[in-house]
């Protein structure tokens, strides 16, 4: 089996910008172009341009699409209005998390499911398998679809300045969070979504591969006067961590249910469908998983200068009570931030804990999420 990393349609663009590359989910992606701290700062203060084409795109359509997704996924997708989107998850039978996803309702009987890069093939296969008995078609379009994101306070102005259809500039400005609209950008048909992974205002633009490089260049040129900067995965990670957003593989995995991640509300028990993982989820909930039993994801603020990193132990009076899942210095806030899975007794905000930083116990405190909230 080939283990050569995949390239997005924007790979030549990144090389032209002297990107430093890294492997992510089997893809060769820009880690940073210059300073990842400068890229992080640009998103918080101006705008960042991201290539997210490694993410997956799976189309689900047919008369049973809504009830199929309600059965295959954890959330209630049937109540999502056309033009809106919802953050959700796909669970295994034991309620373990296969992936976290955003689902966009394109029409009454048509949805776009967006899995994470490393999980796209697994999610597409699971959806295809779960479609048995439903009048739906599941089409994995990940290989043909590119995704570019503009994130930051200037994102709206930049995107509004490049759309060319009548009334579309106003439509961009009025587009609510977690909604999408179709726009034209100089002849390129774009599915424009107001979603993101940074904690800032921003947009994600889905296009066919053939249009990716030209769209990137158009956005880059339009953003120049606003201070737009190309941003890699290092900045993407520090931005989402500050915003308190989980990363599959770090905070989320098959080993936990949504309850341990504090994402119980993402699962809909009100919908009728016996969705995959329902019984196990209900049993875990009844036993108090994540609230009175087991472990729970918490936010930690470092009281010293050193950052805790993924994999480090969390201690209470010298005893291991948890494990850090993500951590680094927060560029915006100026102190170390981390997410950690800890025993529920120690999950309350204000709890004093230590992280084992390579043999040295450094003090951290449980705080409420998110670490950072943007000015609205």
């Amino acid at each position: 089996m080939s283990t050569i990393s995949r390239h997005t349609a924007l790979h030549p663009t990144h090389e032209g910008l002297n990107a430093h590359f890294t492997d992510f989910g089997g893809w060769d992606m820009p880690l940073r172009y210059g300073s990842e701290l400068a890229e992080h700062k640009a998103v918080r203060e101006a705008a960042g341009l991201f290539d997210l084409s490694h993410m997956g795109e799976v189309w689900v359509s047919g008369p049973d699409a809504a009830t199929f997704l309600n059965t295959a996924l954890a959330g209630n997708l049937a109540v999502v209005k056309v033009g809106k989107a919802k953050y959700t998850m796909i669970l295994a039978e034991d309620a373990g998390i296969i992936d976290d996803l955003i689902v966009y309702r394109i029409a009454d009987t048509r949805f776009l499911v967006v899995p994470n890069a490393g999980n796209a093939p697994v999610v597409a296969a699971a959806l295809a398998e779960r479609a048995a008995g439903f009048d739906v078609e599941v089409k994995d379009a990940s290989d043909e679809t590119s995704l570019v994101a503009v994130q930051g306070p200037a994102a709206e102005a930049i995107v509004a300045s490049v759309v060319t259809g009548d009334g579309q500039a106003a439509a961009v400005k009025e587009l609510p969070y977690y909604a999408w609209t179709a726009v034209a950008v100089q002849g390129i048909d774009v599915l424009l979504a107001r979603t993101g992974y940074t904690g800032e205002d921003g947009f994600e633009l889905f296009i066919p591969n053939v249009d990716a490089a030209r769209l990137w260049d158009i956005l880059f040129a339009a953003g120049a006067g606003h201070g737009i900067v190309p941003c890699g995965l290092a900045a993407r990670d520090s931005l989402r961590l500050e915003a308190g957003m989980p990363l599959y593989g770090n905070e989320l995995s098959l080993e936990i249910t949504p309850l341990e991640a504090g994402l119980g509300p993402v699962v809909s028990l009100k919908k009728e469908e016996a969705f995959v993982g329902r019984a196990a989820f209900e049993a875990a909930k009844a036993e108090g998983r994540g609230t009175s039993t087991g472990r729970r994801l918490v936010a930690l603020k470092g009281l010293g200068r050193r950052a805790a990193r993924g994999g480090y132990d969390v201690l209470k009076d010298g005893v291991v009570v948890g494990r850090v899942t993500s951590g680094q210095p927060s560029p915006t806030l100026g102190y170390p931030v981390a997410l950690a899975m800890v025993d529920v007794e120690f999950a309350g905000p204000g709890t004093a804990l230590d992280a084992d930083l390579r043999g040295k116990a450094e003090p951290f405190e449980v705080v409420s999420l998110p670490f950072y909230t943007r000015q609205k």
Binding site: H20, R32, S35, A234, R306
Partner: protein, 127 residues
């Protein structure tokens, strides 16, 4: 390509040392570029005894932590407080303002010339 300063010598672990007395030590641009933005520098205090090849501190970037290895056996004379206060100096000027400490050298560990280090690490030798 990362710059490799010709007047310095290098350890395989990416520290450089100059020819002054006491000798100045820092990390190479190859190392700084691989780390990304340096956010924290941890070096021992003046008077600490160092042993060539053994760890003598840490350099931490946003994403990772790397050990510092002493290129020589000797005693630390002075530590660069400016680099401790502003770790970004290791990225912007790793051979100049980003120096880490000076050391009274008793004996050297294995050291490479600039050409040997550049050849092993894909850097460009510069004056």
């Amino acid at each position: 390509m990362s710059a490799v300063k010709s007047s310095l010598r290098y350890s395989a672990e990416h520290e450089w040392i100059d020819a002054s007395s006491p000798a100045k030590v820092g990390i190479s641009q190859v190392a700084a570029d691989a780390l990304g933005d340096v956010v924290y520098v941890d070096v021992p205090e003046a008077g600490t005894a160092l042993t060539a090849g053994e760890t003598c501190g840490e350099v931490e970037s946003t994403k990772s932590v790397s050990d510092l290895y002493s290129p020589v056996t000797g005693t630390i004379v002075e530590v660069n407080q400016a680099a401790i206060d502003d770790p970004s100096l290791l990225n912007s000027d790793p051979y100049g303002a980003g120096w880490l400490f000076t050391v009274e050298v008793e004996s050297e560990g294995a050291l490479l010339t600039a050409a040997e280090y550049a050849s092993a690490n894909g850097g460009d030798v510069v004056d």
